[in-house]
């Protein structure tokens, strides 16, 4: 193997092993930042040795043993030992080598679950949670994270350093919460993963409409979570939602990089493997027998679209009902807006417009580009192209995404061109 090929192999091993390694070490040293340092040290040693000695048969175990030795050395040598003794003095968790062995032989999935709960801890800002999760669970480099978020590498590096310091300073316990707290904390975990996914799925700013790496990483983290916390319906709900949305990737932009709306997508190109996986995950959520939460309901809506062979076969009445249910568990003007669209599709644009008009006064939607965009769409369908053009122009002025703006301006121009009112009809909700 050449040097660079060993390097790439080590990268791959790191990607597979790093989260487990950090999670196991964090349980031992009770500090996520220190655990990552130890894991990184082991990686550096591997990078020095493996090109000479060859890659060991069980690289994961090799890295763990090496990191474990470093941890013991460090705990012995530094004042940390005393500090840690003091911190843990109240509990029974003292460090002897036997304890460390036991700690490292424990259940890996529990460790991973603890790590996810820690990196998504509410003591951190939303941005810090995302960066830290990608770093510690996804095994991504700061450079990769920075590129995905279109930020400077130093910004992300700083964000991660600060997050680790915050966790350490606020003495966040490395544990999976129980009872009511579990529910609350789980929702922050799901939020972080979905935020990651959405950031990649429809970039809020910049020229590129999609930042696929984030989607892929979010989906992978969701799948991990579903395996290690299988009794939570919302976890399966979120995975289902992400699988089904991902199934539309290759149809969401045309060759020129412009977005293609849901109703105009070539359904034959949807990824049916991902749709099947999404439907199976939704089924798992339903089988748990509890009322569906926001993610599972959104997944059920996505499933309706996925199961319609053609756009015209979409069961809009069912989608409207699902939005109704969603507005009960997660009341929001945006859900109302989507419900209005579904109702317009099921029962006619006039009914939809009535609902949308009620939302115009909603302060939280004042600068939300999809409100005028939807309103414009319904007005076109009702033949009121003059009003529609104004709405599209307003929507264009509000969006931060260059490609979306282009599409909206095109629609406005179409309306202007056909003052008589035979402007193209297009749905939203891509």
């Amino acid at each position: 193997m050449s040097g660079s090929s060993v390097q790439r192999t080590i990268d791959a091993i790191w990607r597979i092993e790093s989260a487990k390694l950090i999670a196991g070490l964090a349980r031992m040293v009770r500090d996520v930042g220190l655990a990552e340092d130890l894991a990184q040290d082991a990686l550096v040693i591997a990078l020095e040795r493996w090109p000479v000695t060859g890659i060991p048969d069980n690289p994961g175990a090799w890295l763990m043993t090496t990191a474990k030795r470093r941890a013991i050395d460090q705990i012995r040598r530094s004042k940390l030992r005393e500090q840690k003794y003091e911190e843990l003095g109240r509990g029974s968790d003292l460090y002897t080598e036997d304890d460390i062995d036991m700690a490292l032989d424990g259940e890996v999935e529990d460790d991973l679950l603890r790590l996810i709960f820690t990196t998504c801890h509410p003591v951190l800002s939303q941005e810090a949670r995302v960066a830290l999760t990608l770093r510690l669970l996804g095994g991504l480099t700061t450079d990769e994270i920075a590129r995905a978020f279109l930020l400077a590498e130093s910004t992300i590096a700083q964000r991660i350093v600060r997050a680790k310091r915050t966790l350490s300073a606020s003495k966040v316990a490395f544990e999976v919460p129980a009872g009511e707290e579990l529910k609350q904390r789980l929702s922050t975990v799901l939020e972080v993963i979905y935020l990651m996914f959405n950031e990649g799925y429809a970039a809020t700013s910049g020229d590129s409409w999609m930042r696929p790496m984030l989607c892929q990483e979010a989906l992978r983290l969701g799948r991990i979570l579903a395996e290690i916390a299988p009794a939570e319906p919302e976890v399966h709900g979120l995975v289902s939602l992400m699988e089904i949305q991902s199934s539309r990737f290759r149809t969401r932009v045309n060759a020129a990089g412009e977005p293609i709306l849901l109703m105009d997508q070539n359904r034959a190109l949807w990824d049916h493997l991902l749709i099947r996986r999404g439907l199976a995950a939704l089924e798992r959520a339903r089988k748990l027998g509890r009322p569906l939460g926001p993610y599972a309901l959104q997944a059920a809506i996505s499933a309706c679209h996925a199961q319609a062979r053609t756009a015209s076969e979409t069961d809009w009445a069912r989608i409207a009902a699902l939005y109704e249910a969603l507005s009960r568990v997660m009341p929001s003007p945006i859900v109302e807006l989507n419900r209005a669209v579904a109702i317009a599709m099921a029962f006619g644009p006039a009914f939809g417009l009535q609902l949308v008009d009620e939302l115009v006064a909603e302060p939280s939607l004042k600068d939300y580009h999809l409100l005028p965009s939807v309103r414009g769409d319904l007005l076109v369908k009702l033949g009121r192209t003059g009003e529609a053009r104004e709405e599209f122009e307003r929507a264009a002025s509000l969006t931060r995404n260059a490609r979306e703006r282009g599409l909206l301006l095109k629609r406005a121009a179409e309306c202007a061109a056909s003052e008589s009112g035979d402007c193209d009809q297009q749905g939203i909700d891509a």
Binding site: A12, P212, V253, G257
Partner: protein
């Protein structure tokens, strides 16, 4: 990027002998490991080729010929596949190396093939557009 790990057939798989409990359990543990890493998309085993059917086209553009199994050359036969989604070719190799030896007896063989996906998730729309344009050009030049 997606990879298919193809497990080649052996004398046993072709004879319809089901894998031992030990191997079956090792495979299940392996699949579980893949699932817990979030990389597993699908995995299935296939019946022996004696239950298979081949459709071939001996004449270009002619009628298809349907042949019933079994087919010769066990090593060219697929006994099962595992679909994974990973970040690099090296990661796919690393996972494949961890798969249990499919049949033992010195016959085990796993083949790794990358799945073609023009809109591979790692490509951005600009790259895709370029690729589409290039393909159009190539097709244009190829035509007489």
């Amino acid at each position: 990027m997606r990879f298919m790990m193809i497990v080649k057939g052996t004398k046993d798989s072709e004879a319809g002998i089901m894998p031992s409990t030990e191997l079956l359990e090792a495979m299940l543990r392996y699949n579980e490991e893949l699932a817990k890493a979030g990389v597993l998309l699908a995995a299935d085993g296939l019946h022996a080729s004696s239950q298979g059917i081949r459709i071939s086209y001996p004449e270009p553009g002619g009628k298809p010929k349907v042949t019933d199994g079994p087919f010769a050359e066990a090593k060219e036969i697929i006994a099962g596949y595992t679909l994974i989604e990973v970040k690099s070719r090296e990661e796919a190799i690393e996972w494949a190396l961890r798969m249990p030896d499919p049949h033992g007896f010195g016959e085990g063989e796993i083949e790794l093939r990358q799945i073609i996906d023009a809109a591979d998730l790692t490509q951005n729309p600009e790259t895709l557009a370029m690729e589409a344009a290039l393909r159009e050009k190539m097709e244009g030049t190829r035509k007489p």
